[in-house]
Subunit: 310 residues, 2 copies
């Protein structure tokens, strides 16, 4: 058994336009890192958190990483003590699955540290326990792609049913994170409890088309399907300049885009790195026109998911 390991889990885009609460994908390079060490005293101890501007709790029962590891240890019936350092590699409350990435990296690392007792897929439920603490609900649309990589369909949450959808070769993701904050809870509260069946039919036509488009590698179909008539029209008011930013992405050649998770980040999909970069430039400049600073992430779809760095 190794005594210290570094685990990484990627940032993720949930919802993906027409796939509210059931779809997500992982991006490259950006993500959270968790350093895990075995220790003699039973329990989970968060020793250090960096990159969170002092906002995250060190109490393992209030931190997604701590909760996830504790749920895992309980399941495997282990008293093993574990110390962790958590390095946030992405802004908090950005809509990029920050809490999910911490939970996934933590539990993926803990499982590795204890000798890979469980399969990758089996770790999902423990990471979900962590996510519950952060967002109040156990949604898997960030957790699952962060753990497994690629495009993930969460067909059902109860019981959990996760399906990996093949990623078309050419896809690149652009994400622009404006420096404003939206609380996941507020983004949930703004949603309507009831929707018209007419709109719902449009939405499930689009999500069916989106899945078919990904699997057929039909970029035109992907583009036509990336329309959200349910959540985007309600949530766009939470992101200043959303309409202009999205429009500027489409003008630059993006297939489509929308709010990433519950925002404020906005994502777009394109068929080349060049286009994805042009899209990002346009999006940032629209935010800039409103005096909103932003981060830009250009990335392939991450097919690997969580991994051990060392």
């Amino acid at each position: 058994m190794k005594k210290e390991i570094h685990a990484f889990a990627p940032a993720t885009v949930a919802n993906v336009s027409c796939g509210f609460d059931i779809f997500g994908f992982a991006i490259d390079s950006v993500g959270d890192e968790v350093i895990l060490r075995l220790c003699d005293k039973p329990g989970v101890y968060i020793k250090k958190i960096t990159g969170d501007n002092g906002k995250l709790p060190l109490d393992p029962d209030k931190n997604t990483a701590g909760v996830a590891i504790k749920a895992f240890l309980k399941y495997i019936n282990s008293n093993q003590g574990i110390e962790i350092d958590l390095h946030k590699g992405m802004p908090l409350s950005s809509g990029l699955g920050s809490s999910a990435a911490s939970a996934v990296a933590a539990v993926f690392g803990a499982n590795f540290l204890l000798g890979n007792l469980l399969k990758r897929e089996e770790l999902l439920k423990f990471a979900l326990e962590g996510e519950k603490i952060a967002s109040g609900a156990a949604h898997a649309d960030n957790i699952a792609p962060s753990l497994l990589g690629g495009f993930i369909l969460v067909r059902s949450c109860n019981p959990i049913d996760i399906i990996k959808i093949p990623t078309p070769d050419k896809l690149f993701s652009t994400i622009v994170h404006p420096w404003i904050e939206i609380r996941t809870e507020d983004a949930r509260k703004i949603l309507k409890e009831f929707i018209s069946i007419k709109d719902a039919v449009i939405q499930w036509g689009n999500i069916a088309g989106f899945v078919a488009g990904l699997m057929k590698e039909d970029y035109e179909l992907i583009a036509r399907s990336m329309q959200d008539v349910i959540v985007e029209p309600v949530r766009l008011s939470l992101v200043p300049g959303f309409k202009q930013v999205k429009e500027s992405a489409l003008k630059a050649g993006a297939l489509g885009g929308g709010i990433s998770g519950s925002g404020p980040s906005i994502f777009a999909l394109s068929t080349s790195k060049t286009t994805a970069e042009k899209v990002g430039k346009n999006m940032q400049s629209e935010f800039g026109a409103l005096n909103i600073k932003s981060d830009l992430y250009i990335s392939r779809i991450n097919e690997e998911g969580a991994k051990i760095l060392s």
Copy 2:
């Protein structure tokens, strides 16, 4: 130019459980036949209808076949006179896309008779005009599979966007048509105008899973996805014995099933002919226990769609 031809268009199952208003598939052997003849006098003339118990109008402006051909002739700017005989090969108001099959066979035949001026896909809009007369709305979930064959996703009706989803090899369809009548209009009226977003999310998870299941040829996933939490719970009251009949199908090994179109027929999908037959036997016997007579259709998925018989 041939002076008389026989065209056939298959019966279809629309909605397909979780795909309300956006999904349909075509079945083998059962369908409508239209005999078309060129005539000297401009106009469309329905000379004879059989198999309808005298219920369908000979007036071409009130008959889906007549309306479809007239829309086609108008589009190609032709004054050609056409006489047709219509042979209904399936019961009316059965939920098997009877009006759609007549419209499709008619316009497919007319196009062939006039020298195949338009491609198969281009005929969709004329058949839709016919469907409007029958059901009051231009839904393509019967029309498109009857014309094109296979599993069809109608991603959007406006503008029309039709996607063919590959059919897994093993699939067999069982359809039981109980001898009771439901008017499409009544089946629409009973639907709720608003649904909870929670249920809608379950539904679009299922339709996304269903499409992925068909494309991955993952029969377990197809089975898990064939759940309709929106329309079936409301419409099942229209079909006496629905719950028992569906349950008996699942017990016999069906992957799933539901109301075909707006009913009263009930369909099920299975992975072999033997199972499909067993499923059909069970379903008929449940209807029998309620003193309801029924027809049984066992069939592969029809990949061909409309065709010229002679």
